[in-house]
Every structure is written in structure tokens, then in C-alpha cells.
């Protein structure tokens, strides 16, 4: 089932890159964004929104940088050891997933095997997270929060052996942009 695939994915995969589409369904609206991502374990990730706006989130092992082009601002915060809830943080930290979430098989639908991840501590932003695999491949993630917002991230063009170099996870703020600590 999904759990077995997740443990195998966790054991084998050190790097992963690809594209994602993110849809957030709330009571009144559904908002869709899309972009690309790259993850180098442990702890390095680049999560880049390209549609409909440009925003980059980079975890370089010490700091998480967020640069929003329209807002012309970079915010940075410590990339502390406690696992963030974002897919990038979850996928970039092999052991942390098992440590912070209780994992269980959650059936499958239209060819995708799911794992349910329930946060062990309630201070994460989510009620639950589901990770879906199509065969061996990471297919999607669903994140439900306590306000009824459901975020579905669908992965595509997944490469589990990307040739990533550390420079890709280094963030240099563009000129003339405020860099502020969150």
C-alpha cells in the first residue's frame, strides 16, 4: 500500500524535482497556482510559484527565504529543526516525517495509493495530510486545515535522480528589494 511505497521513497530518494499545480479549495473560492520545485535531502528545497504570480521559497539548510516579486520584499526566518508543514519541508526531511506524523495506509483511488499523516502535536497548521503515490511515483499531496481549506498539490514531470547542485539552494536577494526577518 501507500505506506510501504512512502517508506521506500523515503529510503531511496535523496533528490527530487518536478512541477506542481496547487489548488486551494475554501468555502467561497478555489484558487490555483503552479510552479516548479527541487528538493535535496536533507533539508534543501526550492519551491517556486510561476503562475499566476512569481514567488520563490528557498530552504538552504539554515534559513527559509521567501521572495515575492510583486511585493518586492524578501522575508527570511530560521529553518529550525522542527519540521515545517509545507510539502517541501516534509519531503526534504526523511526522518522528520516519521517523527512528527503518525502514518497509516489510507486506501487508494483511481490508481493512487494514499498515506494519511496525522500530526503528533496539534500545533501544526493542518488537521491531516495525505500523500499519494502512483506506483512508485509521488503523485499528490492533500493538506486540510481546521478552517476547512483543502490544498491539493499535484506533482508532474517528477525526476527522482535530478543532478542538483547546492548552488541551486542558495538564495541571493535581488538588488533594491527589502530583506526583512520574519
Amino acid at each position: 500500500g501507500g505506506l510501504e511505497t512512502l517508506q521506500k521513497f523515503n529510503a531511496d530518494t535523496d533528490g527530487i524535482s518536478g512541477q506542481f499545480s496547487q489548488s486551494v479549495k475554501s468555502k467561497k473560492r478555489t484558487q490555483t497556482t503552479a510552479g516548479t520545485f527541487a528538493i535535496q535531502r536533507p533539508g534543501l528545497f526550492r519551491w517556486e510559484y510561476t503562475q499566476p504570480y512569481k514567488q520563490i521559497i528557498v530552504g538552504d539548510g539554515n534559513t527559509v527565504w521567501l521572495y515575492d516579486q510583486d511585493l518586492a520584499q524578501v522575508t527570511k526566518r530560521a529553518q529550525n529543526q522542527t519540521i515545517g508543514d509545507s510539502p517541501a519541508a516534509i519531503l526534504s526531511n526523511k526522518t522528520a516525517l516519521n517523527a512528527n506524523y503518525s502514518l497509516s495506509d489510507d486506501g487508494s483511488s483511481n490508481g493512487i495509493d494514499y498515506v494519511r499523516a496525522l500530526p503528533k502535536r496539534s500545533n501544526t497548521g493542518y488537521q491531516n495530510i495525505r500523500i499519494g503515490f502512483k506506483g512508485e511515483n509521488l503523485a499528490n499531496m492533500q493538506l486540510k486545515d481546521s478552517f476547512g481549506n483543502l490544498t491539493t498539490i499535484t506533482f508532474s514531470k517528477i525526476n527522482t535522480h535530478p543532478q542538483l547542485n547546492r548552488a541551486q539552494f542558495k538564495f541571493t536577494p535581488p538588488k533594491g528589494v527589502d530583506v526583512l526577518t520574519q
Binding site: 484558487q31 510583486d70 511585493l71 520584499q73 527589502d178
Partner: protein, 185 residues
């Protein structure tokens, strides 16, 4: 440093008086950045303004909510992601307590629509900005519409930028109350 292309800044004529009847409600979502004395905050938001009731949901880039704040004639009430409900006299105070940053909210709903607050002193600056209540407000509307695209406000302490990804006018309602007030506690 201004992040907006010079030729797209509103000309002085775009600002209008915010008469009661001209004020419509709106339903919007976007992104905000707040600079507060060297500290920076980023958040996604959805913001519904029904005239007397305003609800703003503060979210992460992934769409999960960090908190929902609502202002109506009874005051301000909010809920955090753990289901705790707070109330306070102002959104500024509540956002500081619940979210850890101050979200200056007074008059914002009118300024973003391009209105100055009626019966309060104001000044239209040569570069198209509005000066009122100690703030300087710069507004860049959407292409061929009055709806806001980027709004930037600053005063001695804050520099706030809002980008609207979605914005639709809605009829304002006079009697509504915050939904949170009906929630069984």
C-alpha cells in the same frame, strides 16, 4: 524605493470622496507584505468587505489559514488555527496578539477602493498619492478598471504592500454580523 512602474501610478484625479452610497463591498484575495521597523511579514490573504462587516483570512502560501479576523458593529472577533476564539477592540490589537504582527486596518477598505475618508482632512499629492490620517497611500488599479491591483501605504512606522490577485465588487450589507459570533463556543 517604489516597486511600481512610474507611468502606471494613479493620477490625482483617480482618488474620490468616499460617500456612504458610493461605498460598495468587495470580495478579494491576494498577498501582503508588512515592514514594521525592520521586521517583515508576508502572508496570503482573502478579504471580504460587506460594508459594516469585514472578514480577513490570513493564510500561508500553501493556502492553509493561520487565522480568521472579523470586524462588525460589535467589535472584532477572531479564530486561530487551533480553534481558539479571541476578541478585542481593534484588528490591529488582535492581529498582534494572535498572529504576532500588527495589521493596520482602519480606513484600509476605503483607501484600496480609491476613496479618501469623507469628513477627515486629506491631501492629494502631485505624484498621485493620497495623504490622510498620517498615511501616504499609493494605488495602482487593475488595467482598464478601478479595482485595485497594488496598493502601498506607509507612515512613520509601517510600510505595507498589498497585491490583489482576485477582486470583485459585491453589494454591501448593513445588518450582517461576523459569522464567528454564531459559532457555538
Amino acid at each position: 524605493c517604489s516597486s511600481m512602474a512610474p507611468e502606471k501610478i494613479t493620477t490625482t484625479s483617480d482618488w474620490q470622496a468616499g460617500h456612504e452610497q458610493t461605498l460598495s463591498g468587495f470580495d478579494s484575495s491576494g498577498r501582503l507584505a508588512i515592514k514594521d521597523q525592520g521586521k517583515g511579514t508576508y502572508a496570503n490573504f482573502s478579504w471580504q468587505n460587506l460594508g459594516l462587516v469585514q472578514t480577513i483570512e490570513v493564510k500561508t502560501p500553501l493556502g492553509n489559514s493561520v487565522g480568521v479576523l472579523c470586524q462588525d458593529s460589535d467589535g472584532v472577533i477572531a479564530e486561530d488555527s487551533k480553534g481558539q476564539v479571541f476578541s478585542a477592540s481593534s484588528i490591529e490589537e488582535l492581529s498582534q496578539r494572535m498572529l504576532g504582527f500588527v495589521l493596520p486596518f482602519d480606513h484600509l477598505n476605503q483607501w484600496v477602493q480609491g476613496y479618501w475618508i469623507e469628513n477627515e482632512p486629506y491631501q492629494l499629492l502631485p505624484d498621485g498619492k493620497l495623504k490622510q490620517s498620517g498615511w501616504i497611500i499609493q494605488r495602482q488599479p487593475q488595467i482598464n478598471s478601478r479595482s485595485p491591483h497594488i496598493v502601498e501605504l506607509n507612515n512613520a512606522r509601517f510600510d505595507i504592500r498589498l497585491v490583489f490577485d482576485e477582486y470583485t465588487d459585491t453589494p454591501s450589507q448593513s445588518s450582517a454580523k461576523c459569522e464567528l459570533r454564531h459559532k457555538p463556543s
